[in-house]
Symmetry: C2
Subunit: 555 residues, 2 copies
């Protein structure tokens, strides 16, 4: 070994701690801020999703105003600078929480078991970090709760080394109207020209499944996109849940035990978990050989780690627990999905389905799907896929998503769908924990329970579609036959009339002809049965008469 | 609005802080621990990559021993439990750093500008968290540095709420031999049967590009995979770099200014950055209107934020800086790539290329590519893609990777490659900052500079391959022509000899025939020129003679 190499062995590595803020500043692409285009898109997304979580999740009809202004144009040397602001009429942020909620990474109200768009307590802070890193400017937040008499404002930076907010300016104003909500201003480098299609598509797709929201988007080109509120019907909001035993690992169990106020294991089981009643709890504890009257705290004392392990494994695997409750979840609903697809694509046929709730690792989830076919949908090699998770549209990383995997594996020919296909497939997953592949929240992992639910949902609708298409096709064939038969009716009638009356009366057979035509129409019509399409049945006689009318016209 | 809804508006959200350990425990799939199969794979990966970083990065020929033992078999109810241990002969961890290096997320020696396999200071801690969450067992670490007289051991858990190590047991032994390195034992739930193909593939691929390493893998099936050291030639290790000005944002600049010991802006520029000499520094500062004698610290004082912004934008965009230095990087090298591909696929043709260094956002990178064609490669619809980043193989999320994007967009027909293709494409990216899409380190982002380098590298080799294939094909056609011509040579010779000598001598024309054949062979051979293949040229006369020999044999 060379002397140099020996020296290198001895050279000690330099160890140090990194704050989570520094981590996401240094690795901004992990949260979706990989370049000026993505960053602009991601910033608007995070702000809009926070606004929706602050409104419809609390039964408020959302009013969201997004504005994007160019502060400095791009030059050869540097990207353009923008000011983004998003305002909502949500519940507002408590004044004493504003600084941390915007200035401390991993400080959030999203760390409860509830279906929310935000999940990591990270997105808005990543946007603020990006803003700070590219322009050095602070974020400006204005917020007021409904119950508050004041409007509070804070101007702040994030101390990246310490992961702490640094207040630059703060204050409050007396509220003169009933406004409640939050408005956030950010300055950042971006590329509007490239980001525009994605941003517009994103807002359209948000509007598609939130027809109860009013959204206004003012672009740097001074265009205004206005999505009016179409309905005041707002889906039942999601509610907070207790954990399901199947989703609990040893570490969570330890934490729950150290926080619980319950005095016995039996109480602990029934109080701290969802779906466990006293009978189930007793049965479970008995099968684990655990004393129901034991103090749960004793399980985290020294020497009891075997018992703790037994309880933990039991909770995760015992088959006697009821599945996680789905009433905590808030799906979009079949009606809204169908209305949305109709509005966007004006298809020939549309259908949506909301499946029963299922669970993976103790997390309940509901899969919804919708298919639109024909009409204004441009035919293409593969179906257009619209992905949603907890009511947010996912636009990037489509090919990594479990839905894409399912959709691309389906053989559409067996559903009588021609190629290229005029087909749109929408998939929505609602859950207290969406299994995103990355903190940028763009694609869902291949969780097997999820995959099979998505497949079932799509196949179920596809079967209806096949029925529709085959009825439509057989109707088409039938109609052709009717045309063939019907257009000979006048001719046949004439021939019959010639045969049925003596030659001396051949001159004035007009009435007889008419009569015969009528009788033939009745005979033919009675033998026709059109397939019902969408519950409506056509009148065969009408069809026959229209054919004859056309034939006569042609003559 | 309903009374209930009103109440909800007033209901304040619950805010709290989450530690980074809790974050990755709750969202374990983000670091690649999405299920028992992936978790086992990821754990071995993280340990092996740490071992390689502790050896070849410090010019030590790696000896790595991986062992996987089943502790409890799987049942219907629960997954199997395994003990993983990985031992290396690396530089070891300083005794006072062991606890944090293994027990504190985001505490690491990887936070310097250097090409290392580890990047986030996260992987091993994520594995320990997973182990702890599924089995409650501590991690056991044994380590000794070369300079140390003792071997140190620590048994520890991570306090997830606090993100701190909790030492369960610790101690030291006097070292009786020269051993240095680290050995880590982990207990975790896993699924060996499903993970096996990926783990074996991973180790094979590591061995493919680290032929200087000795790797032994003992499986739970009591199989032993032994990859002997094939060469003692170890590539020049990467070295630590100063930051390049193009990669600096305002936040980093502020941090650098607050840490610097330099007294003037001029000094600051030349001391703290790579590639900036005094002349460049003066030119740059002048063009920014900044005084070279100014104290850098004054830029972070109040009122100077405009100047700071000017400097920051300037650093990022000034075109007069030299590109980042590539000598800090450690590519695999064309030779090792070609040897590796030959060993693995025994192809008909192979070629590798190491491109010149380029940079993105101030980070230098080198793209290397290799193509193997024909031979034992099974033909398929698309090329087999082998992806590497900083010498680690990437096995998951192929379709999201920038290399896949490039490879799948190439029209292989223009390179004369038939379909299905017997083709393997290897891509290696070496950089001080690999633009991974997620902390699980499985796929690379579509950074445009990277994309174009990968494209150029592959196309350059593909052009050589086209040349080879077209030569091979034209040689094939030529050979057929030669066969056609050559087999008539004896016949022509006989006819010529009949014409050229008087009839009375027709009886003993044998020698004359031979002579004529010889002369014809010379004439034909002179008109043939075989294409050079791999620098070797075939002797046309030999070919002609062999054809004639065969023709005679047939007669």
């Amino acid at each position: 070994m060379s002397a140099e190499a020996e020296e290198k062995i001895k050279a000690q590595e330099k160890y140090r701690e990194m704050s989570i803020a520094e981590f996401f500043a240094k690795n901004k692409e992990l949260a979706g801020f990989s370049n000026t285009t993505r960053a602009l898109y991601q910033t608007i997304r995070e702000l809009v999703e926070n606004s929706l979580d602050a409104t419809d999740t609390h039964s408020i009809l959302p009013e969201i105003r997004i504005s994007l202004r160019e502060l400095e144009a791009a030059t050869d040397d540097k990207p353009a600078k923008y000011e983004v602001s998003v305002e909502d009429n949500g519940i507002g942020v408590p004044p004493n929480e504003i600084a941390n909620a915007f200035g401390k990474v991993l400080y959030s109200s999203k760390y409860v078991i509830r279906q929310t768009r935000g999940m990591y307590g990270l997105g808005i802070k990543a946007a603020i970090l990006y803003s700070q890193m590219t322009t050095g400017q602070p974020v400006f937040i204005i917020s007021s709760m409904d119950s508050s008499e004041n409007i509070y404002y804070r101007k702040l930076l994030i101390d990246i080394k310490k992961n702490e907010p640094v207040i630059i300016e703060e204050g409050q104003l007396i509220k003169k109207n009933n406004w409640h909500g939050t408005k956030v201003y950010l300055t950042l480098e971006g590329d509007w020209t490239r980001a525009k299609p994605k941003i517009i598509e994103y807002i359209k797709r948000i509007a598609l499944i939130s027809p109860y929201a009013e959204i206004i988007f003012e672009t740097p080109d001074n265009e205004i996109f206005y999505f009016p509120r179409v309905t005041k019907k707002i889906p039942k909001p999601p509610s907070e849940a207790k954990p399901h035993p199947h989703g609990i690992d040893i570490e969570q169990l330890k934490a729950m035990i150290s926080f619980t106020k319950t005095k016995t294991l039996l109480e602990f089981m029934t109080e701290e978990f969802q779906t466990i009643g006293e009978i189930t709890a007793r049965k479970f504890l008995e099968s684990m050989g655990l004393d129901p009257n034991m103090n749960p705290k004793s399980l985290i004392e020294k020497g009891n780690s075997k018992l703790l392990q037994t309880l933990s494994t039991g909770l995760r695997t015992y088959k006697g627990f009821r599945p996680p409750r789905s009433e905590y979840l808030s799906p979009i609903g079949e009606e809204l999905i169908e209305v949305g697809l109709k509005r966007l694509f004006n298809p020939e046929w549309v259908k949506a389905i909301t499946r029963q709730a299922k669970a993976y690792e103790g997390h309940p989830f509901i899969v919804e799907a919708g298919i639109a076919y024909g009409g204004n949908i441009p035919p293409s090699e593969e179906p257009v896929l619209l992905r949603y998770a907890n009511k947010i549209p996912l636009l990037y990383e489509e090919r990594e998503d479990v839905s894409y995997k399912v959709v691309s594996s389906i053989n559409w020919k067996i559903y009588n769908i021609e190629e290229p296909m005029p087909l749109v497939v929408l998939v929505h997953v609602a859950s207290t924990k969406i299994p995103y592949k990355g903190v940028g929240k763009e694609s869902l992992s291949e969780v097997s329970e999820l995959e099979s639910e998505i497949r079932n949902a799509i196949q179920e609708i596809a079967r209806s579609l096949r029925l529709y298409i085959s009825k439509r096709n057989s109707e088409h064939i039938l109609r052709e036959k009717i045309v063939t038969i019907s257009k000979y009716i006048p001719e046949i009638a004439r021939s019959l009339s010639v045969l049925s009356i003596p030659p001396e009366k051949w001159g004035n057979n007009k009435n007889n002809d008419k009569d015969l035509v009528e009788r033939l129409i009745k005979i033919v019509s009675r033998s026709i049965e059109f397939p019902k399409i969408d519950g409506k049945e056509e009148d065969p006689e009408k069809v026959v008469r229209s054919v004859i009318a056309n034939v006569k016209l042609e003559q």
